[in-house]
Structure formats: C-alpha cells, structure tokens
Symmetry: C2
C-alpha cells in the first residue's frame, strides 16, 4: 500500500506501476517541466479492460481531455477523471507509445529504452501482464493538430513542478513511462529524458 501523499519516482527512461483504489487521486508531476509521461490504466480485477484513447475521444468528444472529463475503458466504462491540471492543458491521445520499431526506424542498431517495454516491465513488477500495449494517454506531450488534419511533434509547454491530477473511477492498476525519446525533441529541445514523480491520496 502506498503512503498517502508520498512522492513516488518514475525513473528517467523507465516505467512504474501501482495499484490504486477507486476514488483515490493520482497527481502526476512534471518535475523538470519537459518530460512526457505515457500513462495507462487497467481494471485491477480484469486486465483485458483498460483505458482506451479511441473510446475516450468518442466519450468526451475531444482529442485532449480537460478538467472534468472522464476517460473510459475499451468497455466504455469510466476509469479516470481529470480533476485538476496546473499545466497549460496540452496532452496527447493520438500517438502510439514509442517501441523498438520506432527506434529501429530512427536508426538505432542496438536496444533503445522505449515506453512499450517500460509498460511491460512495470506491470511485471506487480506480477501482471497486459494483453496488448494500449494506445497511451501521453501526459504533457505536445502534438498540435492544425487545419483539422495535420499533426506535429513539439516540445512540452509545461513548467517545472506543474501537474495533472486524475481520480480513479474503479480499482485500477496505473502504469507510467517517463518517455526515453532522446532523438527527437518531444521531451524538450535538450533531448534529455528526466525522471518525473507522482503521489496518490
């Protein structure tokens, strides 16, 4: 069990998962301001039910959730509500987690840390395995959509210490990955992935 309010680290380039009870609030902090945090949530009782971006966009009629919005599962049931957001409100629901295929295409000849493997490793620490890699809620990720069609990859617009808070709508396993992307500037112009933090209360 997590001590209420305790600061938990999502290590740089790594994942971290925790069991969360319905009603608890998870505050995800962009500690240094430029770090994207890929986020997944699974029904703690049935891991084949999980937060789904394609179902959530239909439910909230937005591509970026805001305070008050309730994200839903692939069974269209409420799983997380956005209850506070001290960032400028720029997050992403459109882009897949980075994975080994992404880094191979970017020219990596050897293993590169990636969010898909981080999810698997974080769940494994809890003795769990996901049936697939769901499309993540990419907190703090800046993917502007222009002209109703075009997307771009831009650095985050957060400041250090800004956070978003999500309230669990069922007992869940939440999983994060501090995105290890250091080839394109999605984690800031310095291309230097950092740790992030969260609390549960």
């Amino acid at each position: 069990m997590i001590e209420s309010g305790m600061l938990i680290t999502i290590p740089a380039r790594r994942g971290k998962a925790e069991r969360i009870r319905s009603g608890q609030v998870i505050k995800i902090i962009n500690t240094h301001g430029q770090q994207v945090v890929d986020t997944w949530a699974f029904n703690a009782r049935e891991i084949t039910e999980f937060m789904s971006m394609e179902h959530s966009r239909a439910a909230i009629e937005k591509i970026i959730p805001e305070v008050g919005d309730i994200l839903v599962t692939n069974h269209r049931r409420p799983i997380l509500q956005v209850v506070e957001d001290t960032t400028p409100g720029v997050h992403d629901t459109l882009i897949a987690a980075c994975d080994r295929y992404r880094y191979e295409l970017l020219g990596c000849k050897e293993h590169h840390d990636n969010c898909a493997d981080n999810l698997a490793a974080a769940l494994k620490e809890l003795g769990e395995a996901a049936p697939e890699t769901p499309s993540p809620l990419n907190l703090f990720m800046n993917i502007p959509v222009s002209g109703g069609r075009y997307v771009a990859f831009r650095p985050p617009v957060c400041g250090p210490g800004q956070y978003i808070a999500l309230r669990a709508q069922m007992d869940i396993i939440i999983a994060f990955s501090a995105c290890p992307q250091d080839i394109i500037p999605i984690n800031g112009a310095a291309c230097t992935p950092t740790e992030a933090h969260f609390t549960v209360a």
Copy 2:
C-alpha cells in the same frame, strides 16, 4: 481467389473480409454516398500484426490520410497506401469501432449489430480470429476536429459511387464493416445504414 474487378458486396449492417496479395488495389465504393465503412487490415502471415491508427498518425503526421500516404502496422511497417480518392477526402482515424457497449449506452436493451462483432464474424468466415479489435480506419466517416481539441460526429460528405483505393503493401487480410449505426446520424441524416461495395484488382 477473387476475380479481378468483380464487385463484392459489404452487406448493410454486416462485415466482409478477404485475403489480398501484396500489390493488389482494393477500391472501396460508397455506393449510396452516406455509408461509413470501418476498415481493418492484418498481416496475412501473422494476425497479431495489423494496421494501427496510432502508429499511422505518427508515420504520416496527419489524423486523416490522403492520396500517397502509407498506413502502417503496430510494428510500424507499411501495410496500405492510399492511391486514389474520389471523395472529398473526409475519413476518420480517431474513433473506436461501435460495439455492444456503445449501443447499451445508447439505450438498446437487446442486441444491436455493431462493427466490432462484424469484424469478428467476417474474420471467422475466413477461419481467422483477431487478437483484439484494432482501432479502425473509418472510411467516409466525418469527425471534424476544431480548435485543435474538439471532435464532432457529422454525416458523411460523399456522393453516391465515390470511392477510395488502397494498395496492399504486404499480403493481408482486409476486413470491412458497413457500420450499422442507426441511432445517431453518422451514416447520414436518414439514419439508414446501407450496403457498400469493393473491388480488388
């Protein structure tokens, strides 16, 4: 084997799948002009690899593909290229396939035809089963994104007989569902789902 150019029906409210060889062109025709056609593509040799909207948006840097764009799999490999589009170019990659949960939320007390079940049934006719319901390429579906954040559900803007053509980039199984949504006007103001057609050449 499909006879080249033969008109194949996607029955109203139903699914249809076919095996397609690399290089073949599939032309999907909006026969009556107002019908959404949910579309999936799977690697014919390994069904756990399939066309992925979240990977394709990253690859093409668009939320709506256009002529020349190459859609990719969850392994980020080319699977379908848009080679012709006689419609106004309005399609959707954002919204989940309709499913029984969707119709339950819309108040249906009994079974309602849905695109997720149609995919499963169409694949079963070929002796195949998908490991999950991938987020579909919703051909002819009109989901405008405004203000970089908001989505709306609107009727198609196609005319009768307009089509889009996709060239297979590997041996695939393609699957379609003529969306049975008749409660909201996503298949036109008349809320009357119809059949659509395709050819393979």
